[in-house]
């Protein structure tokens, strides 16, 4: 199936060519992008028959063999549906975008980004390997970042783009950990292998972490409460981007993954409460927030949040009825929401505003737009004879089937409440824009250009088709899709008319409740603006970013002052801490194994050394301090003599003398040094540190004294001096024979150093 990689990589190639072609095509580049998407759609359609037949198509490219990770392109009912959705919606929206964008804007850049996004999105749904899936997943975040920030000169665009990226990429990282854990349990990165091991995964102790982490990724991507906050800010994007990313495709990636992993993770109470609960909560929160918006795109954004919640809730039920209903609603949502976005885009394009408070009575000026909007909104509100009605009935039916404790009552109630809110904001959208008092938009409104009207027309026309002939969709798309999710065939009975029963009653209640809520809309708007401006999740997001950058500043200021003494302070405190804690941890005994009593003259020497050391600390100026320090050194040298170590003593005294002379020379040349008055706290700190370091060194010496030593090398030299080196003066033999190379090296170094010194001195003379 060579077609599969072609479909996957065509958008990327298309994107790469776009900037080049844009030089020749200019503003017509939009057609090129739409053509790529159309080609993709047609290519995918040729795969439809075999998928309907129940086949799964695969194409494998070896990728990282050592990780057992192959790039498998996997086409079954689920991925084919999504791929078709992505390509087809992409085609319509890019054709629309060609008219939407201002002629002065960079069309090449825009369509290159759009194709890049389309390719990444296709990758997410077509790839059958978790790592590659993650790669494409993050690629969608990245390309959506570029698209949201397309109008990069606007502060709000940049803010929205960054926020979307941080939240979705963050969720993606959580998801990556979930994937790694999943691989640990199943031993494979391959999706199909993992899906076959559902029971093993559910029984594993890592099940809950996996579910939580992966679902976190889905929640952020699909803007589920409480991560819905990025979506309204992302509406700063050009409207075609919102229509494509934030209604038709990207926000559905989370749903795709939930559906995809359904066989592996669903069927537990945790799944029901987590996925279903979050979904139904999002349905209500999103609906409530949508009702209070003045900006049409914000209204649509929250409405999207809420509808995605509905689908998520259906998948969360874990039943086959839920999966069928969710998948069907997904199709409906793609049709009506993308249509609504495009309609809002036309309204904005023609009137220059998206504010409900400035709009009204537009149906005369924009009759086509009004009809498209009306149809799409009716489908969204769940009115017959549109697809939305069918899927809402299925939704009610599925929630009634839940039989798990409190969810049994709670789910249907929340379902009705959420749908009532949906009804109310749909009404608000249609009535507020097209009916009622004419508003005062900045531009004089008239109908949108013909080319712009095609895409919304096609999308709006899908709604009655889906409502009136749901079974043909059921056969070609829904059936294979549900079968792919459930991994067994699903019975599908779709009909506009389900007969009298609870679902119909609930629909009636929905409309009644919606009509009841609708008049309260302005009060709700007012209330939301009052309360939510102060206490909202956005404030938490902004606040945590601020805390992050402040703590960054704090860390770098406290640790990185630029003063060496401060660095040494940290290093030495850490070291003494390590030494002491090891000793305490390991209970190392500091008492030497064998000890003799201190002789009197040794005691006198020790006391003298101690007194001199204290005098060093108390010395007022550097000069006496250095001299006293030398005194300490000489006393230690004497101690060495007393303890029968004349060679050590000699070295000690020589070193002491040389360093004392050097010190004195330097101090003599330096400008007079007046020690600054240190504060009491600083003195205390330095004193403590000095004591700690001294104590640590003393402890180390005590602990190491009395350890077994290895035979001294002296024996060897004494023995081998005559036979090996032919000399009786052992020191000489060592220097010129046993370590002849060392001596040669040393001599060379000295000679070079002398040369250097000589050159320096000679240079000084000439100056």
């Amino acid at each position: 199936m060579i077609l599969l990689p072609v479909v996957l990589f065509a958008p990327f190639v298309g994107a790469a060519l776009t900037p080049l072609l844009a030089r020749y095509l200019g503003r017509r580049i939009g057609w090129w992008a739409a053509a790529v998407a159309l080609g993709n759609t047609l290519a995918l359609l040729t795969l439809l028959p075999s998928v309907v037949h129940g086949d799964t198509l695969r194409f494998t490219i070896p990728w990282v063999p050592l990780l057992n990770a192959d790039l498998t392109i996997l086409v079954d009912g689920l991925s084919l549906f999504f791929a078709l959705l992505i390509s087809f919606a992409g085609c319509l929206i890019m054709a629309y975008g060609r008219f939407y964008l201002d002629p002065r804007e960079e069309h090449g850049k825009f369509f290159a980004y759009m194709l890049l996004f389309m390719g990444s999105m296709l990758g997410v749904v077509l790839i059958g390997n978790l790592i590659a899936l993650f790669v494409f997943w993050e690629l969608t975040s990245f390309s959506s970042f570029l698209l949201i920030g397309f109008w990069d000169r606007r502060e709000a665009s940049r803010y929205g783009a960054t926020k979307a990226l941080l939240i979705t990429a963050g969720g993606g990282m959580a998801m990556l950990i979930g994937f790694i854990l999943l691989q640990q349990v199943t031993g494979s990165w391959d999706l199909e292998t993992i899906l076959r091991q559902g029971d093993l995964i559910r029984a594993s102790s890592l099940y809950l972490p996996i579910l939580g982490l992966v679902f976190l990724g889905c929640m952020t991507k699909s803007a589920q409460t409480p991560f819905h906050i990025w979506l309204p800010n992302a509406m700063e994007a050009p409207t075609p981007v919102s229509a494509y990313l934030h209604s038709a495709t990207m926000v559905k990636a989370g749903l795709y993954l939930v559906a995809r992993l359904h066989p592996a993770l669903s069927g537990t109470e945790a799944w029901l409460y987590l996925v279903g609960g979050v979904g139904i909560l999002t349905l209500c929160v999103g609906g409530f927030l949508a009702l209070g918006q003045d900006d049409l795109k914000a209204l649509l954004a929250y409405s999207t949040v809420s509808q995605l919640g509905l689908i998520m809730a259906l998948y969360g039920l874990g039943t086959s009825a839920g999966v069928v209903a969710g998948s069907f609603h997904l199709m409906n949502h793609a049709a009506f929401k993308a249509g609504l976005f495009l309609c809002v885009g036309m309204v904005e394009h023609e009137t220059g505003t998206r504010r409900l408070s400035q709009l009204g009575g537009l149906w005369r000026a924009m009759p086509w737009t009004a009809v498209f909007t009306l149809v799409s909104a009716a489908a969204m509100a769940g009115l017959p004879p549109f697809g939305g009605f069918v899927s809402k009935e299925l939704f009610y039916g599925a929630t009634l089937d839940v039989n798990a404790g409190g969810a049994r009552i709670l789910f249907p109630i929340l379902a009705v409440a959420g749908s009532a809110l949906t009804f109310a904001y749909s009404l608000r959208l249609v009535y507020g824009v097209f009916f009622g008092r004419p508003g005062k938009p900045p531009k004089h409104p008239h109908e949108a250009p013909l080319g712009m009207r095609w895409s919304p027309l096609i999308l709006a026309a899908l709604n009655p088709l889906l409502g009136l002939w749901p079974n043909s969709v059921g056969h070609f798309l829904l059936g294979p899709m549900a079968a792919a999710i459930l991994r067994h065939g699903a019975e599908i009975h779709l009909a506009l008319w389900h007969g009298f029963g609870w679902p119909l009653l609930m629909s009636a209640m929905t409309i009644a409740a919606g009509l009841f809520i609708y008049p309260a809309r302005s009060r709700i708007q007012h209330w939301q603006e009052e309360v939510f401006s102060r206490l909202s999740l956005d404030a938490i997001y902004d606040g945590s970013l601020r805390v992050l950058s402040q703590s960054g500043r704090g860390v770098s200021l406290s640790l990185q002052s630029g003063f060496l003494r401060r660095y040494l302070l940290w290093i030495f405190s850490f070291l003494s801490l390590v030494v002491f804690s090891t000793f305490i941890w390991d209970r190392v005994s500091l008492l030497p194994a064998e000890a003799r009593s201190v002789l009197s003259y040794e005691g006198i020497l020790l006391i003298l050394t101690l007194v001199t050391s204290i005098a060093v600390v108390l010395a007022p100026r550097p000069l006496p301090a250095v001299i006293l320090l030398g005194g300490v050194g000489y006393l230690v040298g004497i101690l060495f003599i007393v303890l029968y170590a004349p060679d050590l003593a000699l070295t000690q005294i020589l070193i002491e003398t040389v360093s004392l002379i050097l010190f004195l020379l330097v101090i003599y040349r330096l400008p007079p040094f007046i020690p600054e008055q240190a504060s009491r706290g600083r003195l205390l700190r330095d004193g403590l540190l000095a004591t700690a370091v001294g104590g640590a060194v003393a402890a180390v010496i005590l602990a190491t004294a009395g350890q077994g030593y290895f035979p001294s090398i002296a024996e060897f030299f004494l023995r081998e001096s005559v036979p090996g080196g032919g000399g009786r003066n052992v020191v000489n033999v060592i220097l010129i024979d046993f370590r002849g190379y060392d001596t040669l090296g040393e001599v060379t170094v000295l000679a070079i150093a002398l040369l250097g010194v000589y050159t320096l001195l000679a240079k000084k003379d000439t100056r």
Binding site: V64, L166, M173, I177, Q560, T704
Partner: protein, 485 residues
């Protein structure tokens, strides 16, 4: 014990000798060249590096050779040698322009870079703690000089002095540790230490405890693990930019090569009670590095902190302690070298005379002024942030999956959170480049061929490592297998 008659393995020493000859050659040639032609020194250095690399590539997969029980040349060291030589070659490429601008002491410059590279190679080949120390010094001393190379620049002077002082501390710790270990074990050979420590009882000895501890502190200084990282931001910011690039990529790789040698040979298997401290250090290193990088305005300083953070990620793999973890370090170091050298090549290309530490705001609108530079910088930033489809992502992925495999899920979660934080500041560079108005007075620079070559190599390598990592990963795995498990 036989004193005389040790047969030296000249074949095994060949790469070292060749590099030494090159270094001395540049030093000599410098005497006879007129200042106008001094760029030839760079050519000579590059030629020497390339020949040495060819020699190593040719020998790759060959048998293990031991030189005088002091140096090992196996696939592990060959891998690292290649990385070091590559870093040195790229450093020389990006240095040509700025060395010419400064206009002094060119011969010394290239010689010092080559000698430092030699030190790195010794570290990766060390079969003896003494060689670790010698390599470290041979690496550090040229770097002390190089970081103070801008003699007229106070910051450069400060950088060199701080590096020297704190580096001396690091060396002292290392030596002290070696001495203690020698006292406990009676040898400095890595293999003998391993044999001695192999039976767990030896670890009870406080001498061993202190020796290993101080050894690790010394190495921690060089990899700049928190809390021994203090020197790094000041030194890296003040040093001449190409030198910073060299240090950031080279020192890190060299220090880790020695760390792996020590961990993989002498201290293997590490007793479990040593894991928690390492765990904490890895965590602190990632945390402090990333959080402190958040607010930096100077791009060099930001990358300095980012290098601390990356040391933290690498330490995660050290904590994992498996063969897979070690391989992931090798892989990551390759990616790391490319992305940092690439980013520094961009900084150097944009640097104006006398401006050693450019701020972020001077990159505003780079995407419009200079698409090539901006694009490659964006690739480097994405790779540093660990986002796909770059090599940085694959590297992090290998590290994290190795750590998960070794059951350090908690640490991996923290690492992921840290890399999430890091997305913020790497991305800021991209945002500034593409989404802010260009400032007045920033002309678009003319790129020298050397810089272009570096940028091309780095960008291509990062994308290659991100999309088709199998080749290098395979090499990394084989290299680790050559000396361990």
């Amino acid at each position: 014990m036989s004193v005389t008659g040790t047969q030296l393995d000249w074949g095994g020493m060949a790469p070292f000798l060749l590099l030494t000859a090159t270094a001395l050659g540049t030093l000599l040639l410098d005497l006879f060249l007129s200042p106008r032609h001094r760029v030839r020194l760079a050519y000579l250095g590059l030629t020497g590096l390339l020949i040495t690399m060819a020699l190593l590539v040719h020998g790759f997969g060959g048998q293990e050779r031991v030189v005088a029980e002091m140096l090992i040349v196996d696939d592990f060291s060959r891998f690292f040698h290649l990385v070091f030589l590559l870093i040195a070659a790229l450093t020389i490429l990006v240095s040509v322009k700025s060395v010419e601008q400064e206009g002094t002491h060119q011969g010394e410059y290239y010689t010092l870079v080559l000698f430092a590279t030699l030190g790195m190679m010794v570290m990766a080949s060390a079969a003896d703690l003494i060689m670790v120390f010698l390599g470290l010094e041979a690496l550090s001393i040229p770097l002390y000089i190089l970081s103070g190379f801008l003699r007229g620049d106070v910051r450069s002077n400060e950088s060199a002095l701080k590096y020297l002082l704190l580096g001396a501390f690091a060396s002292a710790f290392l030596l002290y540790g070696i001495a203690f270990l020698y006292g406990a074990v009676g040898s400095t050979r890595l293999k003998s230490i391993a044999a001695h420590l192999g039976h767990g009882a030896a670890w009870e000895n406080p001498l061993v405890f202190l020796g290993v501890g101080l050894l690790l502190v010394g190495l921690a200084f060089k990899v700049a693990a928190v809390p021994f990282h203090m020197w790094l931001p000041d030194v890296y910011e003040g040093a001449p930019t190409p030198v910073t690039a060299f240090m950031i990529a080279g020192t890190k790789a060299a220090a880790f090569s020695a760390l792996l040698r020590v961990f993989g040979t002498a201290l293997s298997p590490l007793p479990p009670e040593w894991i928690p401290p390492l765990w904490v250090v890895a965590l602190l290193t990632m945390g402090v590095g990333n959080i402190a990088a958040l607010t930096q305005q100077s791009i060099k300083r930001m990358l300095a902190y980012s290098s601390i953070a990356h040391a933290g990620y690498l330490l995660v793999a050290v904590v994992a302690g498996t063969s897979r973890g070690f391989s992931s370090i090798l892989f990551y170091l390759v990616v790391y070298a490319f992305m940092n050298l690439g980013a520094f090549a961009v900084i150097i290309a944009l640097a104006r005379q006398g401006e050693e530490s450019p701020t972020l705001s001077s990159y505003a609108g780079l995407g419009f002024r200079h698409p090539v530079l901006a694009f490659s910088m964006a690739v480097f930033m994405f790779s540093l942030a660990g986002l796909p489809p770059t090599g940085g992502f694959m590297g992090k992925f290998y590290i994290f999956s190795a750590a998960v495999e070794a059951d350090y899920v908690g640490l991996v979660i923290i690492a992921v959170v840290c890399s999430l934080i890091s997305v913020f500041f790497y991305l800021r560079v991209v945002v500034v480049m593409y989404m802010e108005e260009p400032r007045e007075g920033h002309s678009s620079p003319v790129l020298s061929p050397a810089i272009l070559v570096t940028l091309f190599l780095a960008t291509a390598a990062i994308l290659q490592l991100g999309l088709l990592p199998a080749g290098v990963w395979d090499l990394a795995v084989r290299s680790v297998q050559s000396f361990w498990g």
